[in-house]
Chain length 389, copies 2
């Protein structure tokens, strides 16, 4: 896919419509604002491809994390990358309209209007796959796909421990797979088996142990389907915390990592196989929330302009990049309080925060300001920001 | 101000650009989506005005909560309402461009580009007030206002317990007030004295006790300024949790409530003077996060389509309106898990969630779908959504 994006900013006001202009110094960027450090981002994209090379799996990066057509295009430029994942129909519409031709919605689509739109995406020439865990939903998908003279691929979602959507029993999986297989407007492709709740577990050994159980659960399901004459061409799952385990399993065919491209403070804290933190040599922090100091009225603290409206703190507060002398200690709607024991910070000083959780943080912003060597190189819109339908 | 808004949706796709169309039934709205129940909303607006009638204070509703020009216009239609509060320059630009002529930014504006834009708002004919807690910032504001041949009103921010921005000592306040008073491009109007950290305290008695201390702190400051020849024409503060205390103080001149218009689950839980919860007879829940059931694959639970990307859970999980038989028990990026012990919920059932915290939840959405008696009456854009600069 093309790597060039044309951005015109002729009518845009910096500070109202956009936070910066290409060519600016990083310190001129209007804050609070998301910044992608392009050198670091590019290292992450390449590293994931290198990490997966020994294994017989393809990569289908999750676009729910970044919601950016520009990021997705760069991910799809690698040979091993087959398409993207989305989580919502409106999100998939953004990416398919931008020319991406293979999208897996790792979620159930049940509402009639959404099913109709989903089929519309397939109808426009995109290969569309969706997850199912309900027989009536299979019927509804088949009926609408037939009505629109199009075709939908289906994965049966196996709940492998997250306790959310998905079925758990081999007989339920078989029943759904057979139902899908019975409709000419649908294709049974295989299984969605993403263990979301273990991704952020700090201990590698614990993640390995849990994934061991998941992999044998997936193996049983694939075997029982094969015995019924149904083959799983696709077994999809895996996130930044576990993907090497899925990749090495011999049963997963593709991994769905998202956060590796940007990283965040919560993933940074978990350990790899050698006990090393993921943000130390494994993945680069490439996404920053740039913030400015806006009050130094109190001794020992500073207040910055990045609060709850520009970051999600569900997975903890942000950390401050490259500074161990100061600490982000509390957060309100529009402010962050920074402990600054030695009163080093001055009004308008800029800091790079590492967000606690990248996905819901990115979804709060309209723009990524892309910097290289301290200069703004380009602006990428958060194309599917707010596309929650 | 005019109450009519012209909305044209000719090119908008329901489910991509907008979540609904006027005339639709509530059950046809695409979810997850914010809904304003107009009857309830209108009761809240009128009740606030009625509650303030016995007191010699004006109302300056905080628009950072709703970020909506349509909501602000309805608030400004009442006689006692003098203008609005904003928290950010880009937010103030949205409201001033929509014709609102009196805006207090309850925050420091320190960055040079932002100061320039702030003066631009004043220059366009809007009365602009900003808070200060730093002498160099006073100088910068004065210089830029003079350069743009305009005028900025200033409040000195008193930190009355939130421990964030603002100064605490009478001599610091006096020094700042005198500095402001010395510039012809600035006017010293008085004090910003908002005690944000006590608003959500459950016990009325505790809130009353803390505000008693704040009110005497404010009184001392006003007296010491008066002794120095500076009068406070404005003492501004108060939120939904405490505004009647500020209103009755005899020293506050205006209150800045925001959440009362919509309410949320966290404010709903706090008690008023008679020990009654604020959501029981005091304020109506008027803002809902409409969600749909998307999986019933597990016995005893359902999964809905409203997770972290459509609500902020910093102040707790949402509650479910008018249902005590089911409970929203956990939240991930795109999903909510609902405990449904009796398996009452069916696929595509819709539920009205009451968000835990309205301000950062509203900031995640592009639209308010306004309903009355189960029908969509209009759509209001979240005009200043994402305006964080």
């Amino acid at each position: 896919m093309g790597m060039k994006t044309k951005n015109t900013y002729s009518d845009a006001e910096v500070g109202f419509d956009i936070p910066a202009l290409p060519g600016m110094d990083e310190r001129e960027i209007q804050t609070p604002c998301l910044v992608i450090d392009l050198d670091r981002f590019e290292i992450n994209l390449k590293k994931m491809v290198d990490d997966l090379r020994p294994f017989n799996v393809t990569l289908r990066p999750h676009a729910k994390m970044h919601k950016s057509v520009d990021v997705a295009r760069r991910q799809l430029a690698f040979n091993n990358t087959v398409g993207i994942c989305c989580q919502k129909v409106s999100e998939a519409e953004v990416f398919s309209r931008a020319g991406i031709t293979d999208i897996l919605i790792t979620n159930q689509v049940c509402d009639a209007a959404k099913i109709s739109r989903l089929c519309g995406i397939a109808q426009s020439g995109c290969r569309v796959t969706v997850c199912v865990d309900d027989l009536s939903n299979v019927n509804a998908l088949a009926t609408e796909a037939r009505r629109q003279k199009t075709h939908i691929h289906c994965l049966v979602e196996l709940d492998c421990g997250a306790g959310r959507c998905g079925v758990t029993e081999p007989e339920q999986i078989l029943e759904l797979a057979l139902a899908i297989d019975g409709f000419s407007s649908l294709t049974f492709d295989g299984l969605q088996a993403y263990q979301g709740s273990i991704q952020h577990e700090k201990s590698y050994e614990k993640r390995e142990e849990v994934m061991g159980g998941v992999i044998s659960q997936v193996n049983s399901c694939v075997t029982s389907l094969r015995n019924a004459g149904l083959s799983c061409n696709v077994v999809s799952g895996g996130g930044t915390g576990t993907f090497l385990l899925e990749a090495a399993s011999g049963i997963y065919t593709e991994v769905q990592c998202g956060s590796y491209a940007f990283m965040d403070a919560d993933y940074g804290r978990i350990n790899n196989q050698t006990g090393q933190r993921l943000d130390q040599g494994q993945w680069e922090n490439a996404l920053f929330l740039l913030t400015s100091v806006m009050s130094t009225a109190k001794t020992g603290q500073a207040v910055c302009d990045a609060g709850l409206k520009v970051q999600s703190v569900d997975s903890g507060l942000p950390t401050i990049f490259d500074r161990d002398d100061i600490r982000y200690v509390s957060c309100s709607d529009e402010h962050g309080v920074i402990e600054d024991k030695k009163n080093k910070l001055k009004l308008n000083d800029k800091l790079r925060l590492i967000p606690g959780h990248c996905d819901p943080t990115c979804n709060l912003h309209d723009w990524y300001v892309c910097v290289r060597s301290g200069k703004v190189e380009s602006l990428w819109p958060v194309s599917a920001r707010g596309k929650a339908w």
